[in-house]
Amino acid sequence: MKQKSVAVVGAAETTKMGKIPDVSVIGLHADAALNAMKDAGLTPADIDGVATAGVSPVELAHYLGITPTYADGTSVGGCSFMLHVRHAAAAINAGLATTILITHGESGRSRVGAGGFGRAPSSLMGQFEMPYGVGGPPTMFTIPVLRYMKTHGVTEEDLAMVAVIQREWAALNPRSSFKDPITVDDVLNSDMIAWPFRKLMCCLVTDGGGALILTSAERAKDFPQKPVYVLGTGESVETPMVSQMDDFNTSKAFRVSGKKAFDEAGISHSDVDHLMIYDAFAHLPLYGLEDLGFCKPGEAKDFIRERNTAIGGKLPLNTNGGGLSYMHSGMYGMYALQESVRQMRGIAPAQVKDANISVCHGVGGMFAASGTIIFSNEAP
């Protein structure tokens, strides 16, 4: 399906970011939603579609006083919001709703009104992964990487370089959690979390939220902000168990989602001015660059080391500082989308000059799911 007739007309993050002990999860959703509505010049009465993950779209709609004709509760982890954008584009094109609000809010650090991270012991993960001592993403998402490193000769220094370059971007962003420069040695000397992963190769744990409002491209011209058009979208899922990934060297969900989005947008890789790849851990940009087709298998480490993704490089990547340095509340995909929208509006703190096309790629679970959105500030 071509989805060229849809645009983002409202986008905002929570008023505060990082440590927000005085706001609950649903409160973070609402704060971001109200900020996005203000950005778009709308009130809850103007919204007729809702989508969210973490909380139910019912909870969201009721809390904000919205009576929707469209509700999407797709919840596949941190990339859920990419899928929400994709579904919203289809829904708007199909006439299910005209003005769709997508929200995220998570009290990842302060845990105010937040649920747990448990898996039922009778689930497949509960039976065939949990008994072996996994303790959440740092010991699950990381398991494939030693195989990837052996296959392609990737070193711990290569992983560290991802974090170093993203910190350089974070330094340009006043809202980043971490701004001080770091070196490869700093990363390799930081606390061991789960070998070969050190603390500075792992994402932050913070509080925050964000919201987007989408409508048809035709209506988008009448809104106060510069419209950001959706050129192409993709999604896929692979497995709820990281141990059952098809191949530890590549993510099938990344490949399927990325290809779908590029095909739909009808663009080539050389058209891309700005890239976001969800970086819960330092290996994800490496997998993403290869699985999206920006690099051949095994070449992403050199591409990053040669500073192609750094400030002044030909493919600026994770320009907000990423989950490693900007913020990561648990489901980071919303913040990647926000940065793509800022770049397309031309208002990002680390603005990429003359950027017209931004690719925003998310992951959910531990390589469980993926969503890809391609944005442009030029009407298709």
Binding site: S122, Q127, P131, Y132, G133, A194, P196, Q244
Partner: protein, 134 residues
């Protein structure tokens, strides 16, 4: 604190009955002979329900792992490897590597392994792997 234990379902009970008897049981498509894991009453490649349970060799190689240096409370106090092994029959599974130092030097990718079983309750034995002997 007792180790976190799996709770079998009707679709997986045979697997856990097997480990309790010291057998690693897989399933395969009777027509193609291709094995799969985790257990389910049909072949995920074809959707065929014409499948059978069989005893695996217990031989495997080390596919990938991490060493968790912040042990989960039910896992003791020492760092331990969380591994994925490549079974000789094709499927992969998560496990722990035992009877071996939990270090990068001792845990080399592709090293040969064999299954061993650790009883953690009256009803559950976990399939673990150790370096292959001889």
């Amino acid at each position: 604190m007792p180790r976190m234990a799996p709770e079998p379902t009707p679709e997986t009970q045979h697997f856990w009955d097997g480990t309790l008897k010291g057998e690693l049981l897989l399933q395969r498509n009777k027509e193609t002979g291709i094995a799969y894991f985790p257990p389910r009453p049909f072949d995920p490649r074809t959707g065929s329900r014409d499948v059978e349970v069989f005893k695996a060799s217990g031989r495997a190689t080390l596919y990938s792992y991490v060493i968790n240096v912040r042990p989960r409370p039910d896992m003791g106090t020492e760092p331990y490897a969380i591994a994925v092994v490549q079974l000789e029959e094709g499927p992969r599974m998560m496990t722990n590597i035992v009877n071996c130092p939990q270090t990068p030097e001792a845990l080399q990718l592709d090293m040969p392994l064999q299954v061993t079983f650790e009883k953690i309750s009256d009803t559950i034995a976990l399939p673990l792997f150790e370096p292959a002997k001889g």
